[in-house]
């Protein structure tokens, strides 16, 4: 602490941040916070498993072959020969001994055919709903053509000459990396920045806000709270990353297979961390101001919905311009403070130029400063005022006006 008559802004913010950080980290609720992402993963896995099962049960690729035995065997053999070359484009085939009409075969209970092919390889007929006919008539014709040739087709050997990438492939790949980066950044922001909304409600509810406001500037309170929440977020991310990495290693693939970003992985990850911090501080300062206006937790909950929608809008702004680097839309997304971290992270994946990042970070830091300043001023003006104690005395000017924040209470 400096030897002056007041704390500097940084010192004052550090006192607030230190208290908030410890208070959150050493609370029981923090454990639930850490476990938070586990629930959507479990729900997602369960929903995915159930959905996949239903999908498998609901759709089938099995086509019945209602032909003479020799023709049926020829069709099945032809399909086996084509399968290594054509793969998933071909349906599964099963010979059916049924002498019934194809339409009746499709209606037979207990069977699950997508279509029935009848006739002969020379004149195949496909019986099925129109969508199945559209899907399978081509592959069935190919199989029938192969079945008609008594000798197996001789497929020419295709010489393979692989290259590392093409310009088009590289661009497409890096867009994938940019998208993944933006998505992770957005998910973390959505998960973590919302916590800031309710941050000042505690101080207002337990009246600590007046003690803080009397001792240090409101800017320091705002900054301290934001830094504390950012610290808590980093602890959470570190724990989740560690857990995810461990699970990935155990599963045999530690990292998702994403193409390398233009700036390389180390710099991309470092920029991702810095952009997360900047985005968090920008969005957090906005949330802190909005949340500071709320008088109760219920009001904060009501506010959280439009705030989440606003987050989505910002994300869509950045995501929509990802494929058009240098376009006016992309430049706007990079310049608009709230979407800037998202847009610039996408740039880091697609372009190896470093100077735009230096410029963007300086701009974002300036915006953080301005947002905190404006937020603290609004809070100071709107909330920090005397309140309901005002009972006008006859013959005198009345008491103070009602206010949402600090109130002058009747007490003795």
């Amino acid at each position: 602490m400096s030897d002056t008559t007041r704390l500097s802004l940084v010192e004052a913010a550090r006192v607030v941040a230190h208290r908030d950080f410890r208070a959150i980290l050493f609370s029981r609720a923090f454990l639930f916070f850490l476990l938070g992402p586990l629930f959507p993963i479990i729900v997602g896995t369960l929903a995915g498993g159930i959905g996949g099962q239903v999908q498998r049960d609901a759709t089938t690729r099995l086509v019945a072959v209602a032909m003479a035995d020799s023709d049926a065997q020829a069709m099945i053999a032809a399909r086996e020969r084509l399968a290594p070359r054509v793969g998933a484009a071909l349906p599964e085939l099963a010979a059916t001994a049924s002498a019934e009409a194809p339409a009746d075969i499709l209606r037979e209970p207990g069977r699950n055919y997508a279509a029935v092919v009848s006739g002969s390889p020379d004149a195949p007929a496909l019986t099925a709903p129109q969508e199945a006919i559209d899907a399978w008539s081509g592959p069935i014709a190919m199989i029938a053509a192969e079945a008609r040739t008594r000798a197996p087709s001789a497929f020419p050997e295709v010489a393979e000459r692989p290259v590392a990438t093409s310009v088009a492939a590289q661009r497409t790949d890096r867009i994938r990396t940019a998208q993944a980066g933006q998505l992770i950044l957005f998910l973390l922001m959505m998960l973590l920045a919302g916590m800031v909304l309710s941050n000042l409600v505690e101080e207002k509810a337990n009246k600590v806000i007046e003690v803080l406001a009397a001792a240090i500037p409101m800017d320091a309170v705002f900054l301290g709270k934001l830094v504390a929440m950012l610290g808590v977020s980093f602890v959470g991310i570190a724990v989740w990353a560690l857990a995810g990495g461990t699970i990935g290693l155990l599963a045999g693939s530690a990292l998702p297979h994403l193409p390398e970003p233009a700036l390389g992985w180390p710099l991309f990850v470092a920029l991702g961390i810095v952009y997360f911090a900047m985005g968090y501080l920008l969005l957090g300062s906005l949330f802190l101001t909005i949340g500071g206006m709320a008088a109760t937790v219920r009001e904060v909950q009501t506010l959280s919905m439009p705030v989440t929608m606003a987050q989505l809008l910002v994300f869509f702004l950045a995501a929509s311009s990802i494929t058009r680097p240098g376009s006016p839309m992309e430049l706007f997304a990079a310049a608009f403070p709230l979407s800037s971290p998202f847009a610039m992270l996408a740039r880091a994946a697609q372009s190896d130029a470093l100077w735009p990042h230096a410029l963007a970070l300086a701009w974002q830091a300036l915006c953080v400063f301005l947002f905190v300043r404006v937020g603290a001023t609004i809070f100071h003006r709107r909330v920090m005022k005397s309140g309901k104690g005002g009972r006008a005395i006859k013959g005198h000017v009345g008491g103070a006006a009602p206010a949402a924040g600090i109130t002058e209470k009747h007490s003795a």
């Binding site: 208070a23 103070a400 209470k409």
Partner: protein
């Protein structure tokens, strides 16, 4: 400065010192409503200064402006000569009316945190907090969370947090609010000790007795205005001392010695009370006439006006009624 008896009163001594707080023509409006209307206050260093007025009079708003929690719309305020109170925050301790502590914090941590906000290193604040808790009989509660304390204990913890960094100026907003008689007595003692050690103490109250017992100077505030600011003695001296005379007889030539506006109150047969201000010519000549006129003097006393009378005189009957109501509500609570 010497009085007639050769002693220097605290108020007189304080008035010769530099000002800890100076406010000139402070004005504050909330949503167009005038909450504070041209308040002037001057608090000398080392003084005990009271801001006396009913709830809603503008006491808290005035204190908040003095501390820099809110800014005045008009006027200037200086704390230790600085017009930005946060610039001298390390020299100030503040106990708001609505007590506020983090419920999950331990007592010593809460005190250390309040000290840290005023520039005291956390470790030192924690050590001092433990010492203070011990000396105030709360040693057993050092490691308890605030939420586990009684209201009175939590108030004491916040009071200690206000003082842990050894401020030169302490501002209390309604400090006696919510305290029982014993703790009110303790707090009065603490305020006197602080002043004796050279600390300036300024507090707001709607209880006249606290101001009368403790303060060197008071500002009487009502409806956002300060009709009087000065020493308690000078406030009381604004009303002439009252004579309370009891006579056996009600009539006689001696009656002409009494002022024409003397109030008469016959309590019982042979007991008549007379109330009137001490005449400008003094009491001796009148007393001689009463004795010679055989009025049958049973008792005679000269009563100096109290701060309550001064408050009624200065702030008006409406403000005095409001103050009485507040005190009644306080007593009921």
């Amino acid at each position: 400065m010497l009085t007639e008896t050769g002693t220097v009163t605290r108020a007189q001594a304080a008035s010769s010192r530099p000002l800890a707080i100076e406010a000139r023509a402070l004005v504050k409006r909330f949503d167009g409503t005038l909450a504070v209307d041209g308040v002037d206050i001057a608090v000398p260093e080392g003084a005990i200064y009271g801001i006396l007025g009913p709830n809603g009079a503008g006491k808290t708003t005035t204190l908040r402006m003095l501390l820099g929690i809110i800014d005045p719309d008009e006027g200037v305020r200086r704390v230790f000569g600085n017009d930005r109170p946060h610039e001298v925050a390390k020299l100030i301790g503040y106990l708001p009316e609505e007590r506020g502590l983090y419920p999950a914090m331990k007592c010593d941590d809460a005190i250390a945190f309040m000290g840290a906000l005023r520039g005291l290193p956390l470790a030192e604040g924690k050590a001092r907090g433990r010492e203070m808790l011990e000396s105030y009989g709360l040693g057993h509660a050092v490691d308890r969370q605030i939420r586990q304390l009684s209201k009175g204990m939590a108030q004491t913890v916040q009071l200690l947090g206000t003082l842990v960094h050894r401020p030169r100026l302490v501002v209390f907003d309604e400090p006696f609010s919510g305290l029982d008689a014993i703790n009110q007595g303790k707090l009065e003692g603490m305020i006197r000790d602080l002043a004796a050690a050279g600390t300036t103490v300024i507090f707001s109250t709607h209880v006249i007795h606290h101001a009368e017992r403790l303060c060197d100077e008071v500002a009487i505030i009502a409806g956002g205005k300060v009709p009087y600011a000065g020493s308690v003695d000078a406030a009381r001296d604004r009303i002439p001392a009252q004579v309370r005379l009891e006579t056996r007889r009600s009539e006689g030539a001696w009656r002409s010695a009494l002022p024409a506006d003397a109030r008469h109150d016959a309590k019982a047969e042979g007991s008549h009370f007379w109330y009137f201000p001490v005449p400008d010519s003094g009491i001796e000549a009148m007393l001689k006439q009463l004795i010679e006129g055989d009025s049958g003097i049973l008792s005679l006393s000269i009563e100096r006006a109290g701060l309550h009378d001064a408050f009624v005189e200065i702030a008006g009957a409406a403000a005095a009624r409001a103050l009485a109501e507040d005190n009644g509500q306080g007593a009921a609570r």
